[in-house]
């Protein structure tokens, strides 16, 4: 067992070294901590299939518990954004790469990431329907209103008016990028998909210090 853990450690260190070179925002130690954390999270998984990584449920739990996200659909989209190869599992590489943007991404990286999250069907555009879908729970519905969706529709129109610079009734990546650069607040225009400063701080503290101490 000791031999195995020693080998594990060696493996982890090598992996961390490689990954820290591929990913911008983590040094080797930090990468190592995150790998350990990843492994720790994997450990509970009963049917352990090596190389597969975190499944959707596990990942959503983390998003919900650690980063305080609540919107099921957005969490689903965040999982997809992490799961680059679309195999329904977040591998250790995808984990590190994803967290790099998630926790420490530059504005550019975050714009790209958010756009990916919001482009539900992955066709390179955020359409009216996608917006409606994402915003549909953003307003308190008033039963007195004739059309409870009216507010949402209006909100979609407002958003389009503000962000759709080429007036094609959908947001291209260019539209989105320009709008966010003009007004940073629009980065998470269609739902919270990034952690706030507090949870980032808490997570990093937990991951980098507590893990090391172990």
């Amino acid at each position: 067992m000791a031999e195995m853990s020693a080998m594990n450690r060696k493996l982890i260190q090598n992996l961390a070294e490689t990954l820290s070179k591929q990913v911008k925002h983590f040094n080797k130690t930090e990468a190592e901590c995150l790998i350990r954390l990843f492994n720790g999270l994997l450990g509970d998984q009963s049917d352990r299939r090596v190389g597969n990584g975190l499944d959707r449920g596990k990942f959503r739990n983390i998003l919900h518990n650690t980063f305080g996200m609540t919107d099921d659909m957005i969490m689903d989209r965040v999982f997809r954004a992490f799961d680059k190869d679309n195999d329904s599992y977040v591998s250790v590489k995808e984990w590190i790469e994803g967290l790099s943007i998630f926790l420490r991404g530059t504005l550019d990286e975050k714009i790209k990431y958010c756009f990916d999250v919001y482009d539900l069907n992955g066709d390179g555009y955020i359409s009216r329907e996608e917006m409606f879908h994402m915003l549909k729970n953003s307003l308190i519905r008033q039963p007195t209103e004739e059309d409870p969706d009216e507010g949402i529709k209006d909100l979609v129109e407002i958003t389009l008016k503000k962000m759709d610079h080429d007036h094609d009734s959908r947001l291209s990546y260019a539209d989105f990028e320009k709008a966010v650069r003009d007004e940073n607040l629009l980065l998470e225009a269609f739902g919270t998909c990034l952690p706030d400063a507090k949870s980032i701080l808490a997570f990093e503290q937990h991951a980098f210090q507590d893990t090391l101490e172990r």
Binding site: G151, L155, E183, E188, A189, T192, A197
Partner: protein, 1060 residues
């Protein structure tokens, strides 16, 4: 009474003489009034009632001896009163049918006796005595048309003084009678105004109508209606002109069906039967033979029963024709008017005549109604409900709105000129400030109190047709209220796309309750929402109403808390918003009371001067900049200045002062110059080496920054070390260079101010001389705002302390503009101008110019200025003028009342005024004639009164003045008697040597009077003077020695007298 009787009472014939009082309502009420007056007279004014009339009132009475009771001697038909006058004549005498009465008391009695005949008696009396007042008080009181001078005449008599008692009664009597007169007049006026005045047109109409009744057939009412004359004058009358003056319009002969032809006179007063005018010329035919009726129909009804009966039926027939009036008319006849059928006719007839007038009356409100819904309200949607229908139709776009605005302005003008109904105006008023439209249109709406009043009303008003922004903003605010973070952020971002600098949007946000939501968002945990909210608040808080609303909603407290946030964006946004909101005192206090000053000072802590900044450092700088902005706003309150200092703000500001960024420097220097009004800051600015940085920034090319730097130097340079520092840092030259920026008045005011204060040091004056500053400054003496002028003149005044500069000012032509400024009213300016002129006057050549421009007279008249600073400064300036002017004694005498004026200033309580005036008096007294005049004005006791002062400056000039004033007449003795000597001796103990010199001279002069010598000696002057005799000051030496010599001489003479 006289006026009322001649004017208001209606006499039968217009010509005077024995006329008869007609029986008309007016006359009746007149008589009743007079009756009441007479009846109550003896009880109300018993003394006056006994006054014996000059001539008795005599008339033909219907009273008989039997009517009289006690107090009367009845012998047969004649009656005499027991009451007699002083000569024994009875006060009342009745020899039927004539009666004569001598006093009001008897008149009262008659009235009481006459019972039911009393009205008749009064009438008879008045008819027989057309001017009763004249009879009562004598012919000089006869009622004369035009002026009434009876009281004056009486007063003259009072002056003559004889029979004072009787005259007094007469006065009272006439006053009472005049009161009655006015009362009568006003009453009859009321009646007259109630009466229907007929006009030619109305009569003509009547006649036409009556003519139409003269048809054949069974329902005819009249046989014929004819005028006596076919000729109609242009004024509509048909009577001869000499009758027209009596108001007669025309004469008619009407043949009713049932009676004799009626000869009728129509006059403006009414309609009546006359003596039967067929042709002109029968004089008595004009007289009235019947009652006066208000119109023809009424008369006819009373004279012809047939007419009265038939007119009603006729009514209907006639009324069919004008259908508009039918309804009203029928109704009247059918309903309540049955008893007086003629009324219905009247009504209709009146309608005909008054149609035009009524239309006018109706038009007024009608026309205004059309004006009322001003198009502006429509566009704002604030119109009152009854305008809504119209409003909805009006589709607005930019063009129509513009058009509407001009229309509205025009209409408003028209509106105000026409409208007279108060209700209408007030409704207009209340709406005006409610507009959310362009700020320029509603400048009055920015007054907060008015705005506050309007708020509740406006919210309840129907919201039709507000600008489209209003609706969109309202919708967004709804999303803010009912949305999650995502929706909120979208709504916030969308709201920022509106033109938040525009008042419409600013007020719309407030009016739809957006401010509450935005401020509530600041209390949440959502950073994005807070940022978005602050970004909006930051913009809209440029509006003063919004600022107050934010403060009212407690926004400042929340924002102060946000300053603690770790998020830098939040910090700087909050600080910037605070900077905008804290533009009024209450807000500044709130910031301080919630610990805002300390937190804002903490924001200043950053490293500003490293050349290459990282992104984070840049944010730190931005945070510090906004902190400085907020402190700048807050520093306008004195207690905040103190709080900033206590929070350690000064060293941080000093560090930021080294920043290379102008946008950082402006708020920092702004704060510093604001705080430099406090001494603690001035010292800190000097000791923390900030002068150097301020001087450095004078050289930048940002005018605002330069202005603040100059202004800071202006405030700090009161201190000598600071002035030296400015010079040592080579700050004087840039200041002079800045004088060329003459277009920027604020900058110019700050620069000239700095130059003025720096000029207080002579070293600096020398530097300015090198930089030729004075030449430029003289050029700035004309066409500048007062705040610049004050400083320019101040600088010249300081500069002119150097002789070379005095010549420079003259050579540059500065004397004339300076003298011209003496006529100004700004007191700060006057203080400086007088000082500058005074300084210039020390040069003979300058004095010649000042004299030529009559400058001394101007200075002298400034002694009348209520401000003691101006008085003192003018008096100081007068001193060199008197000294240097040619024929100054003559000049001073030429100022009428000038010497009295300056002597009276010795009553001032201001030490500086007293000192300056004493100095001036010392100069004036050099001229013997003038000294004589001021002695006459009592200068000696006034100066003596001042001697107890402890103020060395005043002591010195006072002693000078006393020394000079001793030279006339017995003034020396007078000073001694006034007790001026003993206090003067004490002056010698003063530490100020200039006091010693003046005092010694004064004592020397005073010692020429032996009594003064004794007083001096008693006060121990000799020892003090002996010390002074050893002084290096020769004048002092001489004066002291002279004084001691005089004392000694007296002592010797005394000894000689005693011991022989």
């Amino acid at each position: 009474m006289g006026v009322a009787l001649t004017r208001a009472a209606q006499w039968t014939t217009a010509s005077s003489g024995t006329g008869k009082l007609e029986i008309t309502p007016v006359n009746e009420s007149l008589l009743k009034e007079i009756l009441e007056f007479v009846e109550q007279f003896s009880s109300r004014h018993p003394q006056e009632a006994k006054h014996v009339f000059k001539e008795p009132l005599q008339w033909t009475t219907s009273l008989e001896a039997s009517d009289f009771k006690t107090e009367y001697d009845i012998s047969g038909p004649t009656v005499k009163s027991q009451e007699t006058d002083r000569d024994g004549h009875p006060m009342l005498q009745l020899t039927p049918p004539s009666i004569s009465v001598h006093s009001f008391s008897q008149l009262s009695k008659i009235v009481q006796l006459a019972t039911d005949k009393r009205l008749k008696e009064v009438r008879a009396c008045l008819e027989a005595n057309r001017d009763p007042v004249a009879k009562m008080l004598g012919p000089s009181f006869a009622t004369v048309e035009g002026e009434d001078s009876s009281v004056l005449r009486l007063l003259e008599k009072v002056k003559e003084g004889d029979q004072a008692k009787e005259t007094e009664i007469k006065v009272k009597l006439i006053i009472l009678l005049q009161q009655l007169d006015t009362q009568l007049l006003s009453n009859s006026l009321k009646q007259i105004s109630q009466e229907v005045r007929l006009s030619p047109a109305a009569v003509k109409n009547d006649v036409e109508l009556l003519k139409s009744f003269c048809s054949e057939g069974e329902n005819r009412v009249l046989t014929s209606v004819q005028y006596t004359s076919d000729y109609e004058f242009t004024n509509g009358c048909r009577t001869p002109p000499w009758r027209q003056v009596h108001g007669e319009i025309c004469y008619l002969v009407i043949n009713p069906c049932d009676t004799q032809p009626l000869h009728i006179t129509c006059s403006t007063a009414g309609v009546f039967l006359n003596g039967g005018i067929r042709q002109e010329g029968e004089e008595n035919a004009y007289d009235r033979t019947s009652d006066v009726y208000k119109d023809l129909v009424t008369l006819l009804k009373s004279k012809s029963p047939h007419f009265a009966e038939n007119i009603n039926k006729q009514d209907f027939a006639v009324q069919e024709e004008p259908p508009t009036q039918k309804v009203q008319h029928v109704e009247l006849v059918d309903a309540e008017e049955q008893g007086q059928p003629q009324r219905s006719y009247e009504h209709q007839e009146k309608n005909v005549h008054e149609k035009a007038r009524q239309q006018l009356v109706q038009n007024k409100p009608g026309g205004k109604k059309k004006l009322e819904p001003s198009l502006k309200w429509k566009n704002l949607g604030l119109a009152s409900p009854y305008d809504e229908a119209d409003d909805k139709k009006s589709k607005k776009n930019a063009v129509s709105e513009k058009f509407a605005e001009t229309q509205e302005k025009m209409q408003k003008k028209a509106d105000f000129s026409v409208s007279s109904l108060p209700g209408r105006q007030s409704s207009n008023k209340t709406k005006t400030p409610g507009g959310v439209g362009g700020a320029d249109d509603f400048s009055e709406s920015s007054s907060e109190s008015e705005e506050d009043e309007e708020q509740p009303e406006r919210r309840t008003e129907s919201n039709t047709d507000l600008p489209s922004e209003y609706w969109q903003i309202q919708k967004l605010v709804k999303y803010l209220k009912g949305g999650n973070q995502t929706a909120t952020v979208i709504a916030l971002c969308s709201m920022r796309d509106f033109n938040l600098a525009q008042e419409t949007c600013q007020l719309a946000i407030r009016d739809v309750g957006g401010l509450e939501v935005l401020i509530n968002l600041l209390d949440t945990e959502e950073i994005k929402c807070k940022i978005g909210s602050l970004k909006i608040l930051k913009e809209i808080s440029r509006n003063s109403q919004i600022r107050r609303a934010i403060a009212d909603l407690g926004g400042l407290q929340t924002m102060v808390k946000i300053l603690d946030s770790p998020d830098k964006d939040l910090k700087y946004l909050a600080a910037e918003t605070i900077a905008n909101v804290a533009k009024f005192r209450r807000a500044r206090r709130t910031v301080r009371q919630h610990g805002g000053i300390k937190r804002l000072v903490e924001l200043l802590d950053c490293v500003p001067d490293s050349a290459a900044l990282t992104e984070e450092q840049e944010k730190d700088v931005e945070v510090a900049r906004c902190g400085a902005l907020a402190l700048w706003s807050c520093s306008k309150s004195t207690r905040n200045k103190e709080a900033i200092r206590k929070a350690g703000g000064i060293p941080l500001l000093a560090r930021l002062l080294k920043s290379p960024h102008e946008n950082m420097l402006i708020p920092v220097v702004g704060t510093l110059q604001e705080c430099a009004s406090e001494r603690s800051y001035r010292i800190a600015i000097q000791t923390e080496g900030m002068i150097e940085d301020l001087v450095k920034n004078l050289n930048c090319d940002n005018h605002e920054l330069q202005m603040h730097c100059a202004s800071a130097i202006f405030k700090c340079a009161e201190d000598k070390r600071t002035r030296d520092l400015v010079r040592q840092c080579e700050g004087l030259q840039p200041l002079v260079t800045l004088l060329s920026q003459a277009d920027n008045k604020q900058l110019l005011a700050a620069t000239t101010g700095a130059i003025w204060k720096c000029s207080i040091s002579m070293e600096n004056v020398a530097k300015f001389q090198d930089y030729k500053a004075l030449e430029t400054l003289v050029g700035l003496l004309t066409d500048q705002p007062e705040e610049v002028l004050v400083n320019v003149v101040g600088a010249l005044g300081e500069g002119a302390q150097k002789p070379a500069n005095r010549a420079t000012i003259r050579k540059c032509g500065g004397i004339q503009p300076l003298v011209n400024l003496l006529t100004g009213t700004n007191q700060a300016l006057l203080v400086n101008v007088t000082k500058a002129v005074g300084a210039c006057a020390t040069e003979l050549e300058n004095m010649t110019i000042i004299d030529r421009l009559d400058g001394v007279r101007l200075l002298w008249s400034l002694l009348k200025n209520p401000n003691p600073d101006v008085q003192a400064s003018a008096a100081w300036a007068i001193c060199p003028c008197i000294e240097n002017a040619k024929d100054s004694g003559e000049m001073v005498r030429s100022f009428v009342g000038g010497l009295e004026l300056i002597v009276n200033l010795l009553k001032s309580t201001n030490k500086e005024v007293l000192a300056s005036v004493c100095a001036a008096i010392a100069k004036i007294a050099k001229d013997e004639e003038n000294l004589a005049v001021i002695t006459d004005h009592g200068v000696v006791p006034m100066l003596a009164k001042l001697t107890n002062t402890t103020d060395d400056k005043l002591r010195r000039h006072l002693a000078e003045a006393i020394a000079r004033c001793c030279m006339w007449g017995s003034n020396r003795v007078l000073f001694g008697e006034a007790g001026a000597v003993a206090p003067l001796v004490r002056y010698l103990k003063s530490k100020d040597s200039s006091v010693h010199q003046a005092t010694a001279q004064a004592l020397f002069q005073l010692s020429k009077d032996p009594n003064n010598c004794i007083t001096m000696h008693d006060n121990g002057v000799v020892k003090l003077l002996l010390g002074m005799m050893g002084s290096t000051d020769e004048v002092l030496q001489e004066a002291a020695a002279g004084c001691v010599a005089n004392i000694r001489r007296l002592a010797l003479a005394n000894e000689k007298a005693r011991y022989g």
